[in-house]
Amino acid sequence: MSDIRKRRVKLLYFAWVREKVGSGSEEVELPPQVETVSDLIDWLRTRGPQFDDAFARPQVIRTALDKVHVKPAVRVAGAREIAFFPPVTGG
C-alpha cells in the first residue's frame, strides 16, 4: 500500500509543453518500469499523439523534481511533483 502511494505523482506542464499536452497538470500512477526522468518521458510518449508530439525532442525538454532542476538520468523515486517545460526565457 505505501509503495503504491509513493508512485502517485503530480505532473506539471508549462509553456509550449503545456499547449501541446493540452493540460497544465494531472495526477498519475507511475508504472514499475519508470525509474528515471528519461524513462518517464519515454512512458509519457506512449500515452497519446499529443504527448508523443510534446516530448518528440527530449533534448529541449527541461525537468524539475519537487521544484528543483534535474538531469534526465536522475531517478524519480520519492518525487511528489514533476514538471516538464522548455528551456527558460525570462529576464
Binding site: F14, A15, V88
Partner: protein, 148 residues
C-alpha cells in the same frame, strides 16, 4: 535579500530606497531593469508564464549563491508575469555593496543565472498577431557559464 514575482509594475526607485534606507555602510548600488522592446525587431505584446513556487525558490537560490560569492549588503529581484506591452518593465535586479566591483559583478551574475535557471517563459505576439514562444538563446547559456 528578497525575490518576488508579481503581475503589477514595480517602482525601481522605491524598491532601491527601501533596500538601502537608513544605511550608511553601502558604497555602491547597481540596478538592472529589463523592458519589453517594441518597434522594429520588437514585439506588439508579450505574455510571461512561470512556475509558481519553483520560481520564487529558484530566485532565492540564485540570490543566496550571489551572496556566497560577493560581499553584498542587500539585493533584490522583482520579476513580472502576465500580459506586458512594449516599454513595460519586466525585471528589476538590484545589488548593494561596499565596493563597486562586487555590486556590478553580482548584478550581472543574477541576471545571467535568472535568464538560464528561473522558470519563466515568454510568448511574443508580433504586429500581425502571430504568437510564438521565445526560444532560449545560446548566448544566455554562455553568459551564465562564465560564472562557473
Amino acid at each position: 535579500m528578497a525575490a518576488r514575482v508579481q503581475q503589477e509594475d514595480f517602482d525601481a526607485a522605491a524598491e532601491v530606497a527601501a533596500l538601502t534606507a537608513g544605511r550608511t555602510d553601502i558604497g555602491a548600488i547597481v540596478t538592472f531593469t529589463g523592458r519589453v522592446r517594441g518597434g522594429e525587431g520588437g514585439v506588439a505584446a508579450m505574455t510571461l508564464e512561470h512556475y509558481p513556487g519553483m520560481t520564487e525558490a529558484e530566485l532565492s537560490r540564485i540570490e543566496a549563491e550571489a551572496h556566497s560569492r560577493w560581499p553584498l549588503q542587500a539585493s533584490l529581484i522583482v520579476h513580472r508575469v502576465g500580459e506586458l506591452k512594449p516599454g513595460d518593465n519586466i525585471v528589476l535586479v538590484a545589488t548593494a555593496s561596499a565596493h563597486r566591483q562586487a555590486a556590478f559583478e553580482a548584478a550581472g551574475f543574477l541576471m545571467d543565472y535568472l535568464k538560464t535557471r528561473a522558470p519563466f517563459w515568454k510568448k511574443e505576439t508580433d504586429a500581425s498577431g502571430n504568437a510564438v514562444w521565445v526560444e532560449a538563446r545560446q548566448s544566455d547559456d554562455s553568459a551564465a557559464r562564465r560564472w562557473s
